[in-house]
Symmetry: C2
Subunit: 696 residues, 2 copies
């Protein structure tokens, strides 16, 4: 009857009738293409552009109004299909609560990682009402399913990124998360027991002994209450040292501790390394202890916190602090060990150094020798030397003691240099050529300047001098250089995290993306062009770190079929192929299901209204990218079942009806057929609202 | 005391003491740059590459192992800083529940739009527990804060995208959302009262009279229950016609209706236009009425639904259906008017045409003349002509009547052509040159083929023939050409929505991104290269539409200070500058707040434990990109306050303590100072857990 080519159709149908074949075909195809890619990358021969090819390129450039610099920038960032980026930028997602992984130099968003905010593509927080993800997002008994992710920190070994773990802080709710970089999933979230919100989180010590979480807006430690009049007496800052257990891949809360700090609004933090290993540096910007009150005619916070000429760089000896805790010198606040200010002063754990007013960034040079502080209301960066700091402490070069009894080191004794850069310096990064790079918020520029000391021999310029500035669009906050927080930065690339984009991209409503700009820092001297503008319209990222891609040892599938990503091991509960089924014990019903291209087993699940359901699924796939989803409409369930993954969810079947479940990740040509029905039989037929359908 | 340059510091401090100045400075800078950009774009002179420049370009290309084709692709896709893309691709975000807007040809993700899933950057669903967003995400009394977004549809006028609204369906929960493209925000979500899940949503009629939502997995209409044995008797498909009120920018639920369909698993839908205006076409792929049951040794769905040689193309006369509803011929199911199958048959509302087995895509040519159906288990596309369909209906060329009394038109009478393309054809798009483009899932390729009829004169090739195929990586689902669903497609660009990426990008854990590939379709004939691979690691997008950027009339700020985006008008409740404060009425407390760079007024809010809080904020900004955020740590509040926006949220102050609130969007150099405190005074002091802090 039909006019189409039957022979060809039969061939296809024969294929289609065996779903496994389709899967196998896709696998073979993928392998084939991998071979192609490998050979392609190897076989690319050096090109020479013929006059005709130059003419064609010129024609395209002129049609698109590209300059010669644009062509060069395009050639420096373009990635042919299948070629991998050199670096991965792990960026905070700001108030999206996520992390974004971006390839450099192509500036392509590779993946989001859900951290503090449930995300349904990843099935993060959508495994029923008792989902462990949702439970760990509770704060003080309240569901807080979002976060303001700030500072990602890659785990380090001997001060170098080791590619194993990633940490990030939630400023809004003072939490720290641990992400395992084998499967790029969030494994743990710890809530700070002392403070409502933080800021200087997270930063790691050189061997990831501790994940540092610094505070910001002072409050009454332990979630207490006090009116503004009691600010000086009752409000406090803090820094928490979360002990990291690398073998377990988890923060060990029981071995962690905090340090009470004055209510000076601690800001950024950085851990010392090499020459300064054992110290942590934190700056502050409200040593005035201003309490605002614009509604009462008082100076608003924005003015009140910037009255004094200097604030305090906090120099913290965390090894001494660790020892003091072991010696029982901490007191408990909200059950958590805290070294109080008097103990910190007595034990030499905390010193201050003056820093020009309202500093924002504090960054330690790769050799640990220099600590760079950028005060946003001072056109200089101030550089401290660790030798000078150590000597000043040893020689008791104390210029004052603050209201809380903390010694303040003499500024001239600890200062190595001040370098005038421009308006609104914020943060500093480093390269492999003895240069430092500081963001200038008010100038909207990235500045390059020379380091002194051992670095002076790496560059041709005079030390401690501005070399050049590159304009960025607009209002740069943090910046990030390749491996820029390690003991051995790479140079090559730098990201300007420009906070406003204004006119850079097509308008996207009143809410605009931010602008990540790729800056080429490969050449020494005054050449430092912007290569690429990347809109970031999925959050307002705060900070990022850039790691060499080959340091990551990412799993492409789970190691074994039946793997539980929460425990990172094989789960004995994982249903096995051939053992699927529904087990009833009174009103407790357990479903054991497997998923493979292109069906779930079982395809029909019949339960009674009110049954308590435990549903277990194993994705019995071992091919890279053969991910399945699993959702039940109306029941708020959506899983991402990656190859080998085992997942479990629970719910009460409190809504009668016939519910399709289906695979939410396009897995094969027969993906739409990968479905089944959950039948929730009503207690009484009168419970049904629906009128009968028309008769066939 | 300090060694830094005092004169320069004083200059900066003078600036800093007046925050407004900082804002003004940023504004001036932005204006300056806009001028620069305009002039820059105009002034770009045609380039001629000198030998030295060619050498430099060649050097970069060879260092990066780029081919000449790579250089050309780079030059065709690269966007210099500040230059805007030509097209916006509005893509479903799949099971992320969002929409993604992507610039073409640069393939940069411009912004996400939260639709079915709360998103904290946009403040979507984070305005307290009574948030209207969360309320509208309830399904049948359950919170379902995620969706499986499938088919975005731009609003149309006379069959052409008009840039005003965007609609999208949630397959998992059978919902349709309305997005206003003035501010790119979701304004409405309607829940289908008949079915748990859908698939063919959303598609619009040529003047956006209706937003079409087709079903997929048959269920008992009205959320009913029936066991699988009663499939044929009790399960049904459906298509819903949501009436759109363009003036209100909302779906008018009371004027909407549905059509009962047999339980054949309706799949994609497309509205007729021009020659076929008044009709809607939907295909289907389980006319076998298979019910699976692999757990009982029955054929699984993947095999069971593909047994017959043909399924049914549904041809629906929506104007007749509309009339039948007005004439009272619909019955109510779950309170919603439904035209039952007997009425549809009697009124000539529904006809079937055979289509080769397991069809997936159905797409109407720009002139409305041809309906292209791609059966994924048949290597051809089948083309129906509207003239033939109309004639067959008029001449009663009926080959059969299905089990539900619906007439089946004779295949040969309605078939215009069949074109052999390759393995796994799915979806078809059109260009301006008389070509059609069909995705080939199993071949992993985009095919270009020639249309006949009036289109034959536009191309040099024989009609109804395959012209060329371009390999894509891998497993292409939908594809999308520029303005490809309108009466006047643009050609130029096509997106291959490749479902698997496998080895194309750096591995991102077991969960990999999808791959949006930009295909250059500007040249006629056999040249059709892939220009760019874009990883999509934020969801698995299902379908997208591409609109010319200059058709969008996006607001850059809200039109007036105090604008309520929910109502799209000025809100009388919006607090005004100078009128801020806290109003108490018993335990009901109203906070009237304004936000401007860089402070909130008031900065201190004191309430008592248990108070019921109504908090109103107006962003009194009128500068593009001067967005503020507002969050309260621990209380699950985060707003995005775009310039001019008014927002309100409510909560019970049930947790005593002192809570910082702060701006979550980096707004100025004094952004960190844009904060205040919510003091929730405990009922009794013994309620406080915290021990006293150390004494100063």
């Amino acid at each position: 009857m039909l006019g189409f080519n039957r022979q060809c159709a039969v061939k296809v149908l024969a294929l289609a009738s065996v779903a496994a074949l389709l899967g196998a075909s896709a696998d073979a195809m993928a392998q084939e293409t991998r071979r192609e890619r490998r050979s392609r990358t190897k076989e690319v021969k050096p090109i020479e552009l013929s006059p005709a090819q130059v003419a064609e390129l010129t024609k395209v450039a002129n049609e698109r109004k590209l300059t010669v610099d644009d062509l060069l920038a395009a050639s420096k960032t373009y990635m042919p299909s299948g070629r991998h980026d050199d670096y991965v930028l792990f960026s905070s997602g700001g108030q999206s609560g996520q992390i974004f992984a971006i390839g450099v130099p192509s500036m392509r968003l590779l993946r989001s990682i859900a951290v503090f905010t449930p995300e349904s593509w990843q099935g993060y927080g959508f495994a029923g009402e008792g989902d462990a993800v949702l439970e760990r997002l509770n704060v003080n008994g309240k569901a807080v399913p979002w976060g303001d992710t700030h500072h990602p920190a890659l785990s380090e070994t001997a001060g170098d990124y080791d590619g194993q773990f990633l940490f990030i802080g939630d400023k809004a709710n003072a939490r720290v998360a641990v992400i395992d970089l084998r499967d790029w999933e969030t494994k743990q979230i710890v809530k700070n027991p002392l403070t409502v919100s933080d800021h200087g989180a997270s930063f790691v010590t050189p061997n990831t002994e501790y994940v540092v979480e610094g505070g910001q807006y002072a409050t009454v430690l332990g979630y207490g209450y006090a009116p503004p009049e009691e600010y000086k007496k009752s409000y406090r800052g803090m820094v928490t040292f979360w002990k990291f257990d690398r073998a377990k891949g988890r923060i060990d809360e029981a071995s962690s501790f905090a340090l009470e700090l004055p209510p000076y609004w601690q800001d950024l933090a950085d851990a010392g390394k090499v020459a300064s290993d054992g110290l942590v540096f934190i700056n502050s910007f409200n040593s005035e202890m201003a309490t605002g009150g614009v509604e009462q005619g008082k100076p608003p916070f924005e003015a009140g916190v910037s009255q004094r000429d200097t604030d305090y760089l906090h120099i913290i000896d965390w090894k001494r602090a660790e020892r003091a805790v072991k010696e029982g010198k901490a007191k408990k606040i909200n059950g958590f060990p805290v070294i109080t200010l008097d103990v910190a002063a007595a034990e030499g754990i905390l010193h201050f150094a003056p820093e020009p007013k309202s500093p924002h960034g504090v960054d330690v040079s790769p050799n640990g020798q220099f600590i760079v502080v950028a005060g946003k209301l001072d056109p200089h960066v101030t550089v401290y030397s660790i030798d000078r700091i150590k000597k000043a402490i040893a020689d008791k070069k104390i210029s004052a003691t603050d209201d809380y009894g903390i010694p303040v080191l003499d500024f001239d004794a600890v200062k190595e240099a001040q370098v005038e850069l421009g308006l609104g310096p914020l943060h500093t990064q480093f390269d492999d050529k003895g240069y430092a790079y500081t963001s200038l918020f008010l100038d909207s520029a990235v500045s390059r300047w020379t380091l002194g000391g051992d670095y002076a021999k790496l560059h041709a310029e005079e030390p401690w001098k501005l070399v050049t500035k590159t304009p960025v669009q607009y209002n740069i906050g943090h910046l990030c250089a390749a491996e820029g927080d390690t003991v051995s930065p790479d140079g090559n690339y730098l990201i300007s995290m420009s906070k406003w984009s204004v006119d850079r991209f097509l308008p996207t409503g009143p809410l605009l993306p931010q602008n990540f700009q790729l800056v080429d820092i490969a050449a020494a001297g005054t050449t430092m062009p912007v290569l690429f503008d990347m809109p970031i319209g999925v959050g307002e990222p705060h900070y990022c770190q850039m790691i060499k891609a080959d340091k990551l040892k990412t799993w492409t599938t789970y190691p074994e079929i039946g793997w539980n990503p929460h425990t990172q091991q094989l789960d004995p509960r994982a249903p096995k192929q051939g053992k699927e089924g529904v087990v009833r014990d009174g009103s407790q019903v357990t479903i054991n299901m497997t998923a493979i291209r292109s069906h779930f087993t079982p395809e029909h699940v019949e339960v009674n209204e009110g049954d308590e359901i435990t549903w277990r699924i194993t994705a019995i796939e071992s091919t890279q990218d053969a991910t399945h989803g699993f959702c039940i409409g109306g029941y708020n369930i959506n899983l991402s079942l990656e190859p080998g993954e085992f997942a479990e969810f629970k719910f009460v079947a409190d809504k009668p009806g016939t519910y399709p479940f289906y695979c939410t990740e396009f897995c094969s040509a027969l993906h739409l057929e990968m479905m089944g029905y959950l039948h929730v039989k009503p207690k009484t037929t009168t419970a049904m609202k629906a009128e009968p359908a028309a008769k066939p």
